[in-house]
């Protein structure tokens, strides 16, 4: 039975254990939601305006500062946009090293989210630091947390010079190339964390959380034969039923993605939401596994066979499981590259010749498709830039999912404290990144 007089307000000014600042207001009257607002409360830094007039080749190091955790995603997406603009084709060695750098980011960033942000929810703890050292399982997970993150961190440091705002990758190549011996040394470290990730996959495979949106939604991401996050064609598929069947898939060239994304103004949020071709959209690990799990590394497909049977999935919590599988893929794909590298050729970055041009770069950031479009003047300076980040694309689905979850919990007479716990868990499953979402002013698509 409902309590018809159930009235309360939830006001979470700062949601914890997510990247950046977000807030949530829910007004419940007579056990019904009267108002619900999920908003990005980061203060903007106006990067889209700040890059105007600056040299295009200098943009990647500046826009890396949009986000601390996925800085190397901004770095590589903007480098791609500049290279496309000036018809620079990076060498195969450059692409291999970029992939290696990027797998390091995926390992580190997904591990931060799964172990530090999400795992405490599964164990009923506030923080990973509260895990009980005397409990063998919790002790092991605490160790896993930091050793997995460290290997991802080291992979990015060895290849890029630093794991945050990597200084070596640049337009046309690398300013300083990594040492072959250091790269080779990472193989054993990667092999050592593999069993830890199999353990993590099992935990998220057994997790019971389930939240399926009532409305149909689209999953979008880059589709490439080696699931490298950096290359490919955009693929989008729409869910047709709550069991996870996906149909109506489309392939879209990177440079056309902008035409499909429709910006939605959310008056109470510092950032903008997006729809994909008119429908609700989601990007990120869940979307990527839904559209291209067949392209994962063959060792990953073998070891994660049981977990992969769950995809495609429309259970939003499976974003966690999908991230765990992507860590395994990043380990296996990195080992494959490291084993295959026999030398680091002394290549200097390819030089650009300034001209009036437009360049588009799309890569899969840890949280989903990241889009850069740069209009460049004849002198090589930026005339105009547009940047679309994953959390902006997910914002509408996040709010819709919270609404449906709260409605469901209210129908079961759930108390306010429990609602807060469940809602925060759901928000964390999306792994939103507010630093990214609050960098720009507006994007208008014609």
């Amino acid at each position: 039975m409902h309590d018809p007089g159930n009235n309360f307000d939830i006001n979470l000014e700062e949601i914890s254990k997510i990247e950046g600042a977000a807030s949530l207001e829910i007004k419940v009257r007579n056990n019904k939601i009267e108002d619900l607002k999920f908003s990005i409360s980061e203060w903007k830094r106006f990067y889209t305006q700040a890059i105007k007039g600056k040299l295009a080749i200098a943009i990647p190091q500046l826009v890396a500062r949009i986000c601390g955790t996925c800085s190397n995603a901004h770095l590589l997406a903007s480098i791609e946009a500049v290279e496309k603009a000036f018809d620079v084709v990076p060498s195969s060695q450059t692409m291999l090293l970029r992939k290696l750098l990027y797998y390091g980011l995926i390992i580190r960033d997904h591990a931060l989210h799964l172990y530090v942000f999400s795992l405490p929810d599964l164990f009923g703890k506030d923080s990973i630091l509260d895990f009980d050292e005397n409990d063998p399982i919790q002790h092991e997970l605490l160790d896993d947390t930091f050793s997995v993150k460290e290997v991802g961190n080291q992979l990015s440091i060895v290849v890029g010079g630093r794991s945050v705002h990597a200084p070596q990758p640049t337009v046309g190549g690398f300013l300083k190339l990594p040492e072959l011996a250091q790269i080779k040394n990472l193989k054993n470290d990667l092999l050592n964390i593999r069993p830890k990730i199999l353990r993590l996959i099992k935990i998220y495979l057994e997790a019971k959380d389930n939240q399926v949106l009532k409305a149909p939604m689209s999953f979008a991401g880059l589709y490439s034969s080696d699931f490298s996050f950096l290359e490919g064609t955009v693929k989008s598929c729409t869910s047709t039923d709550p069991n996870g069947s996906l149909a109506i898939c489309k392939m879209i060239a990177e440079e056309d993605l902008g035409k499909y994304l429709e910006g939605i103004v959310i008056p109470y949020s510092h950032a903008r939401g997006f729809k994909f071709d008119g429908s609700l959209m989601m990007v990120g690990a869940l979307a990527r596994l839904n559209i291209s799990k067949e392209n994962l590394n063959s060792k990953t497909k073998e070891s994660a066979k049981e977990a992969l049977k769950l995809f495609p999935s429309v259970n939003l919590f499976h974003n966690n499981l999908a991230q765990a599988i992507e860590i395994l893929h990043s380990i296996d794909a990195s080992i494959q590259i490291i084993v295959g590298i026999t030398e680091i050729k002394p290549e200097a970055p390819i030089k650009i010749i300034p001209k009036e041009t437009i360049g588009i770069g799309v890569i899969e950031a840890p949280r989903g498709s990241l889009y850069y479009r740069l209009e460049i003047n004849a002198d090589g300076t930026v005339k105009k830039g547009e940047i679309i980040v994953p959390t902006g694309q997910n914002q509408i689905v996040i709010e819709r999912a919270i609404y449906e979850l709260v409605e469901d919990l209210l129908s079961k007479n759930t108390g306010q404290d429990k609602i807060i716990v469940e809602v925060e868990k759901l928000i964390r499953a999306f792994d939103p990144c507010m630093s990214c979402a609050a960098h720009f002013l507006k994007v208008k698509w014609k």
Binding site: R65, S71, P120, L129
Partner: protein, 156 residues
């Protein structure tokens, strides 16, 4: 047993790169630090104490100040912290989060509706323009060696 060092980690307007470096430093230091440190505030690590600022031995502050609300919170942190450390370029110099301070008129006009709607401060401030800063860890992101030296100094 010695009392643990009570620390808080706070992020204002920035990309939180130093938060990430801090969580990466935990990879190799957490066993030692957990014995010696009590985390009083750290939104990235825990939910507790996200509403009220508590007494701390050391407060680490990253990011620049964009709003009156942020300014008031920073002053509160200063009141409650024996030592305040400004972390990274945005906290110490304001940059690059203060890039709107240097915009031309056309760019300012473009961003004006947002500044007004959400009541942004006219200029983005560095931390030392609002409160007294005791220590700094420069860098974008913060320099790990300088940070570790500072930790050693206060963990004795």
């Amino acid at each position: 047993m010695d009392k643990k060092l009570r620390i808080g980690w706070f992020s204002f307007t920035c990309c939180e790169d130093s938060t990430i470096i801090f969580t990466e430093l935990l990879n190799t230091h957490y066993r030692d630090w957990l014995k010696k440190i009590e985390f009083v505030h750290a939104r990235v690590l825990m939910k507790k104490n996200t509403k009220e600022i508590k007494e701390m031995d050391v407060a680490f502050v990253e990011g620049a100040i964009s709003s009156d609300g942020q300014e008031a919170k920073l002053k509160k942190i200063r009141e409650k912290a024996k030592i305040l450390v400004a972390i990274g370029s945005c906290a110490i110099n304001g940059s690059p989060s203060n890039q709107r301070n240097f915009f031309n008129q056309a760019n300012i006009e473009e961003i004006k509706p947002i500044l007004e709607r959400f009541k942004y401060k006219e200029k983005v401030l560095k931390v030392s323009e609002v409160v007294k800063v005791d220590e700094i860890v420069p860098g974008c992101p913060m320099n790990e060696t300088i940070f570790l030296d500072l930790m050693k100094k206060y963990l004795i």
